[in-house]
Symmetry: C2
Subunit: 135 residues, 2 copies
DNA sequence: TTATATTTGCAACGTTGTTGCATTTGAAAC
DNA sequence: GTTTCAAATGCAACAACGTTGCAAATATAA
Protein backbone atom coordinates (compact mmCIF):
# COMPACT_ATOMS: atom_id res chain seq x y z
CA UNK A 1 0.00 0.00 0.00
CA UNK A 2 1.58 3.24 -1.14
CA UNK A 3 0.76 6.80 -0.15
CA UNK A 4 1.06 7.86 -3.79
CA UNK A 5 -1.59 5.42 -4.94
CA UNK A 6 -3.93 6.36 -2.13
CA UNK A 7 -3.69 10.04 -3.03
CA UNK A 8 -3.95 9.47 -6.79
CA UNK A 9 -7.02 7.30 -6.46
CA UNK A 10 -8.77 10.19 -4.71
CA UNK A 11 -7.43 12.86 -7.06
CA UNK A 12 -5.58 14.56 -4.25
CA UNK A 13 -2.32 16.32 -4.96
CA UNK A 14 0.76 14.49 -3.80
CA UNK A 15 2.42 16.80 -1.34
CA UNK A 16 5.21 16.04 1.07
CA UNK A 17 3.11 16.57 4.13
CA UNK A 18 0.27 14.33 3.00
CA UNK A 19 2.58 11.58 1.80
CA UNK A 20 4.54 11.74 5.02
CA UNK A 21 1.48 11.43 7.23
CA UNK A 22 0.09 8.54 5.22
CA UNK A 23 3.41 6.68 5.19
CA UNK A 24 3.71 7.02 8.95
CA UNK A 25 0.16 5.89 9.62
CA UNK A 26 0.53 2.93 7.28
CA UNK A 27 3.67 1.66 8.96
CA UNK A 28 2.51 2.36 12.51
CA UNK A 29 1.48 -0.60 14.62
CA UNK A 30 -0.93 1.49 16.67
CA UNK A 31 -2.87 4.74 16.59
CA UNK A 32 -0.67 7.83 16.84
CA UNK A 33 -1.29 11.36 18.07
CA UNK A 34 -0.60 14.38 15.90
CA UNK A 35 2.62 15.02 17.78
CA UNK A 36 3.77 11.45 17.43
CA UNK A 37 3.21 11.77 13.69
CA UNK A 38 4.84 15.18 13.52
CA UNK A 39 7.93 13.87 15.29
CA UNK A 40 8.29 11.09 12.75
CA UNK A 41 8.03 13.34 9.71
CA UNK A 42 11.41 13.85 8.09
CA UNK A 43 10.56 17.36 7.04
CA UNK A 44 9.05 20.20 9.06
CA UNK A 45 5.76 21.71 7.98
CA UNK A 46 3.91 24.72 9.24
CA UNK A 47 1.27 23.97 11.85
CA UNK A 48 -1.42 25.21 9.52
CA UNK A 49 -0.34 22.92 6.74
CA UNK A 50 -0.20 20.01 9.10
CA UNK A 51 -3.73 20.62 10.39
CA UNK A 52 -5.07 21.13 6.91
CA UNK A 53 -3.49 17.90 5.74
CA UNK A 54 -5.23 16.04 8.55
CA UNK A 55 -8.52 17.60 7.64
CA UNK A 56 -8.14 16.58 4.00
CA UNK A 57 -7.08 13.05 4.86
CA UNK A 58 -9.96 12.66 7.28
CA UNK A 59 -12.50 13.99 4.84
CA UNK A 60 -11.26 11.57 2.21
CA UNK A 61 -11.41 8.61 4.58
CA UNK A 62 -7.72 7.93 4.50
CA UNK A 63 -7.18 8.37 8.20
CA UNK A 64 -9.59 7.85 11.06
CA UNK A 65 -9.79 9.94 14.19
CA UNK A 66 -10.02 8.20 17.54
CA UNK A 67 -11.09 10.53 20.32
CA UNK A 68 -9.61 9.32 23.57
CA UNK A 69 -10.36 12.41 25.53
CA UNK A 70 -10.77 16.05 24.87
CA UNK A 71 -7.28 17.26 24.06
CA UNK A 72 -6.21 13.73 23.19
CA UNK A 73 -6.84 12.39 19.75
CA UNK A 74 -5.15 9.57 17.90
CA UNK A 75 -5.19 8.65 14.26
CA UNK A 76 -5.05 5.37 12.45
CA UNK A 77 -5.44 4.26 8.86
CA UNK A 78 -9.11 4.27 7.94
CA UNK A 79 -10.99 0.98 8.17
CA UNK A 80 -11.71 1.06 4.45
CA UNK A 81 -7.98 0.82 3.76
CA UNK A 82 -7.14 -1.74 6.41
CA UNK A 83 -10.22 -3.81 5.63
CA UNK A 84 -10.86 -4.01 9.36
CA UNK A 85 -14.36 -3.66 10.70
CA UNK A 86 -15.51 -1.15 13.28
CA UNK A 87 -13.63 -1.86 16.49
CA UNK A 88 -13.14 -0.59 20.03
CA UNK A 89 -9.93 0.99 21.32
CA UNK A 90 -8.07 0.57 24.55
CA UNK A 91 -6.15 3.46 26.03
CA UNK A 92 -3.53 2.91 28.72
CA UNK A 93 -3.73 5.71 31.26
CA UNK A 94 -0.07 5.22 32.16
CA UNK A 95 1.90 4.69 28.99
CA UNK A 96 -0.68 6.51 26.81
CA UNK A 97 -0.67 4.01 24.00
CA UNK A 98 -3.73 2.91 22.10
CA UNK A 99 -4.54 -0.65 21.11
CA UNK A 100 -7.30 -1.88 18.85
CA UNK A 101 -9.67 -4.29 20.57
CA UNK A 102 -10.68 -6.42 17.63
CA UNK A 103 -12.36 -9.08 19.77
CA UNK A 104 -14.68 -6.76 21.63
CA UNK A 105 -18.07 -6.56 20.06
CA UNK A 106 -19.54 -3.19 19.19
CA UNK A 107 -23.18 -3.32 20.26
CA UNK A 108 -26.07 -2.43 18.01
CA UNK A 109 -27.37 0.79 19.61
CA UNK A 110 -31.03 0.87 20.56
CA UNK A 111 -32.28 4.27 19.47
CA UNK A 112 -35.64 6.00 19.74
CA UNK A 113 -37.74 6.12 16.58
CA UNK A 114 -36.49 8.48 13.93
CA UNK A 115 -32.90 8.56 15.17
CA UNK A 116 -30.15 7.73 12.70
CA UNK A 117 -26.53 6.67 13.25
CA UNK A 118 -23.51 8.03 11.45
CA UNK A 119 -20.72 6.90 13.72
CA UNK A 120 -20.03 4.90 16.84
CA UNK A 121 -17.04 4.93 19.16
CA UNK A 122 -16.13 2.64 22.01
CA UNK A 123 -13.19 3.63 24.18
CA UNK A 124 -11.92 1.51 27.04
CA UNK A 125 -9.48 3.09 29.46
CA UNK A 126 -7.30 1.36 31.99
CA UNK A 127 -3.82 -0.03 32.40
CA UNK A 128 -2.00 -2.27 29.97
CA UNK A 129 -0.18 -5.40 31.10
CA UNK A 130 3.19 -3.68 31.42
CA UNK A 131 1.78 -0.79 33.48
CA UNK A 132 -0.66 -2.73 35.66
CA UNK A 133 2.09 -4.96 36.99
CA UNK A 134 -0.04 -7.99 36.08
CA UNK A 135 2.19 -9.41 33.40
CA UNK B 1 -31.09 15.73 46.33
CA UNK B 2 -29.36 18.89 47.47
CA UNK B 3 -26.02 20.30 46.42
CA UNK B 4 -25.26 21.14 50.04
CA UNK B 5 -25.67 17.55 51.19
CA UNK B 6 -23.60 16.21 48.32
CA UNK B 7 -20.74 18.55 49.19
CA UNK B 8 -20.98 17.98 52.95
CA UNK B 9 -20.93 14.23 52.58
CA UNK B 10 -17.61 14.51 50.78
CA UNK B 11 -16.18 17.14 53.15
CA UNK B 12 -15.94 19.66 50.34
CA UNK B 13 -16.41 23.32 51.09
CA UNK B 14 -19.70 24.75 50.00
CA UNK B 15 -18.85 27.48 47.55
CA UNK B 16 -21.14 29.31 45.20
CA UNK B 17 -19.54 27.96 42.06
CA UNK B 18 -19.68 24.33 43.19
CA UNK B 19 -23.23 24.59 44.45
CA UNK B 20 -24.31 26.31 41.26
CA UNK B 21 -22.80 23.67 39.00
CA UNK B 22 -24.29 20.83 41.02
CA UNK B 23 -27.75 22.42 41.11
CA UNK B 24 -27.71 22.91 37.36
CA UNK B 25 -26.56 19.37 36.63
CA UNK B 26 -29.15 17.92 39.02
CA UNK B 27 -32.02 19.72 37.38
CA UNK B 28 -30.84 19.20 33.79
CA UNK B 29 -32.66 16.65 31.69
CA UNK B 30 -29.59 15.95 29.61
CA UNK B 31 -25.81 16.29 29.64
CA UNK B 32 -24.59 19.88 29.40
CA UNK B 33 -21.40 21.46 28.13
CA UNK B 34 -19.32 23.79 30.27
CA UNK B 35 -20.70 26.77 28.44
CA UNK B 36 -24.27 25.62 28.85
CA UNK B 37 -23.63 25.32 32.56
CA UNK B 38 -21.82 28.64 32.73
CA UNK B 39 -24.73 30.38 31.02
CA UNK B 40 -27.15 29.03 33.58
CA UNK B 41 -25.14 30.09 36.59
CA UNK B 42 -26.69 33.11 38.27
CA UNK B 43 -23.32 34.48 39.28
CA UNK B 44 -20.18 34.92 37.22
CA UNK B 45 -17.00 33.15 38.21
CA UNK B 46 -13.52 33.41 36.88
CA UNK B 47 -12.58 30.86 34.22
CA UNK B 48 -9.96 29.43 36.53
CA UNK B 49 -12.43 28.92 39.36
CA UNK B 50 -14.89 27.35 37.02
CA UNK B 51 -12.34 24.87 35.66
CA UNK B 52 -11.08 24.04 39.13
CA UNK B 53 -14.61 23.41 40.36
CA UNK B 54 -15.15 20.94 37.54
CA UNK B 55 -11.95 19.18 38.40
CA UNK B 56 -12.93 18.87 42.03
CA UNK B 57 -16.43 17.66 41.24
CA UNK B 58 -15.10 15.13 38.78
CA UNK B 59 -12.48 13.83 41.18
CA UNK B 60 -15.13 13.40 43.85
CA UNK B 61 -17.47 11.56 41.52
CA UNK B 62 -20.21 14.16 41.65
CA UNK B 63 -20.21 14.87 37.95
CA UNK B 64 -19.25 12.65 35.07
CA UNK B 65 -17.49 13.74 31.93
CA UNK B 66 -18.80 12.56 28.58
CA UNK B 67 -16.31 13.06 25.79
CA UNK B 68 -18.21 13.59 22.56
CA UNK B 69 -15.28 14.80 20.59
CA UNK B 70 -12.11 16.62 21.23
CA UNK B 71 -13.22 20.16 21.93
CA UNK B 72 -16.69 18.94 22.94
CA UNK B 73 -17.32 17.61 26.38
CA UNK B 74 -20.57 17.32 28.27
CA UNK B 75 -21.26 16.71 31.92
CA UNK B 76 -23.95 14.88 33.77
CA UNK B 77 -24.57 13.89 37.36
CA UNK B 78 -22.41 10.91 38.26
CA UNK B 79 -23.96 7.46 38.01
CA UNK B 80 -23.44 6.92 41.73
CA UNK B 81 -25.82 9.79 42.47
CA UNK B 82 -28.42 8.99 39.84
CA UNK B 83 -28.30 5.27 40.62
CA UNK B 84 -28.11 4.67 36.89
CA UNK B 85 -25.77 2.06 35.51
CA UNK B 86 -23.09 2.62 32.93
CA UNK B 87 -24.79 3.72 29.72
CA UNK B 88 -24.09 4.88 26.19
CA UNK B 89 -24.73 8.40 24.91
CA UNK B 90 -26.20 9.66 21.69
CA UNK B 91 -25.01 12.92 20.20
CA UNK B 92 -27.02 14.69 17.53
CA UNK B 93 -24.67 16.19 14.96
CA UNK B 94 -27.24 18.84 14.08
CA UNK B 95 -28.80 20.13 17.28
CA UNK B 96 -25.80 19.12 19.43
CA UNK B 97 -27.79 17.65 22.25
CA UNK B 98 -26.87 14.53 24.15
CA UNK B 99 -29.25 11.78 25.16
CA UNK B 100 -28.59 8.82 27.42
CA UNK B 101 -29.12 5.48 25.70
CA UNK B 102 -30.23 3.40 28.64
CA UNK B 103 -31.36 0.48 26.51
CA UNK B 104 -28.13 0.00 24.63
CA UNK B 105 -25.95 -2.62 26.20
CA UNK B 106 -22.36 -1.77 27.07
CA UNK B 107 -20.29 -4.75 26.00
CA UNK B 108 -17.84 -6.52 28.27
CA UNK B 109 -14.50 -5.67 26.66
CA UNK B 110 -12.25 -8.55 25.73
CA UNK B 111 -8.78 -7.51 26.82
CA UNK B 112 -5.39 -9.19 26.56
CA UNK B 113 -4.03 -10.81 29.73
CA UNK B 114 -2.92 -8.37 32.38
CA UNK B 115 -4.98 -5.44 31.10
CA UNK B 116 -7.28 -3.71 33.58
CA UNK B 117 -10.27 -1.44 33.01
CA UNK B 118 -10.98 1.81 34.78
CA UNK B 119 -13.54 3.35 32.48
CA UNK B 120 -15.56 2.69 29.36
CA UNK B 121 -17.31 5.10 27.03
CA UNK B 122 -19.70 4.43 24.19
CA UNK B 123 -20.68 7.37 22.01
CA UNK B 124 -23.16 7.11 19.17
CA UNK B 125 -23.36 10.02 16.75
CA UNK B 126 -26.06 10.73 14.25
CA UNK B 127 -29.26 12.71 13.87
CA UNK B 128 -32.11 12.83 16.32
CA UNK B 129 -35.73 12.44 15.22
CA UNK B 130 -36.30 16.18 14.90
CA UNK B 131 -33.19 16.75 12.82
CA UNK B 132 -33.32 13.64 10.64
CA UNK B 133 -36.77 14.52 9.34
CA UNK B 134 -37.91 11.00 10.22
CA UNK B 135 -40.37 11.91 12.93
C1' DT C 1 -14.54 35.40 67.41
C1' DT C 2 -10.42 33.58 65.93
C1' DA C 3 -7.36 30.58 63.31
C1' DT C 4 -6.20 28.09 59.25
C1' DA C 5 -6.46 25.47 55.35
C1' DT C 6 -8.96 26.02 51.14
C1' DT C 7 -10.72 28.56 47.50
C1' DT C 8 -10.94 32.52 44.60
C1' DG C 9 -9.56 36.02 41.12
C1' DC C 10 -6.04 37.81 38.47
C1' DA C 11 -2.06 37.84 35.48
C1' DA C 12 0.64 35.34 32.66
C1' DC C 13 1.57 31.65 29.83
C1' DG C 14 1.27 27.50 26.60
C1' DT C 15 -1.42 24.62 23.47
C1' DT C 16 -4.78 23.84 20.03
C1' DG C 17 -7.08 25.10 16.04
C1' DT C 18 -8.83 28.55 12.51
C1' DT C 19 -8.84 32.31 8.92
C1' DG C 20 -7.10 35.52 5.30
C1' DC C 21 -3.75 36.37 2.06
C1' DA C 22 0.39 36.43 -0.75
C1' DT C 23 3.49 33.03 -2.59
C1' DT C 24 4.65 28.60 -4.24
C1' DT C 25 3.84 24.24 -6.36
C1' DG C 26 1.65 19.92 -8.51
C1' DA C 27 -0.36 18.26 -12.46
C1' DA C 28 -2.32 18.68 -16.79
C1' DA C 29 -2.20 20.85 -21.38
C1' DC C 30 0.51 22.52 -24.91
C1' DG D 1 10.48 21.47 -21.76
C1' DT D 2 7.25 25.31 -21.02
C1' DT D 3 3.01 27.30 -19.79
C1' DT D 4 -1.12 27.60 -17.06
C1' DC D 5 -4.09 27.54 -13.12
C1' DA D 6 -6.30 25.59 -9.35
C1' DA D 7 -4.73 23.95 -5.10
C1' DA D 8 -1.53 23.82 -1.29
C1' DT D 9 1.82 26.19 1.56
C1' DG D 10 3.75 29.45 4.98
C1' DC D 11 3.03 33.34 7.67
C1' DA D 12 0.64 36.53 10.66
C1' DA D 13 -3.02 37.21 13.45
C1' DC D 14 -6.55 35.69 16.20
C1' DA D 15 -9.77 33.01 19.39
C1' DA D 16 -10.76 29.31 22.63
C1' DC D 17 -9.17 26.18 25.89
C1' DG D 18 -6.70 25.04 29.90
C1' DT D 19 -2.95 25.50 33.51
C1' DT D 20 0.14 27.64 37.11
C1' DG D 21 1.71 30.87 40.77
C1' DC D 22 0.43 34.02 44.01
C1' DA D 23 -1.93 37.41 46.93
C1' DA D 24 -6.47 38.17 48.84
C1' DA D 25 -10.78 36.37 50.41
C1' DT D 26 -13.61 32.90 52.66
C1' DA D 27 -15.67 28.50 54.64
C1' DT D 28 -15.31 25.67 58.40
C1' DA D 29 -13.81 24.10 62.85
C1' DA D 30 -12.01 25.35 67.26
Amino acid sequence: MLAIDILNKRRLKRTGCREGIIDIVISADRALSENEIKDRLTENYDRTTFYRSFKTLKKNKIIRKIVIDNQLVKYELDNSLTRKKEHAHFYCNSCKFVKCLDETEIPQPILPDGFTISEIGLIVKGECDKCSGNN
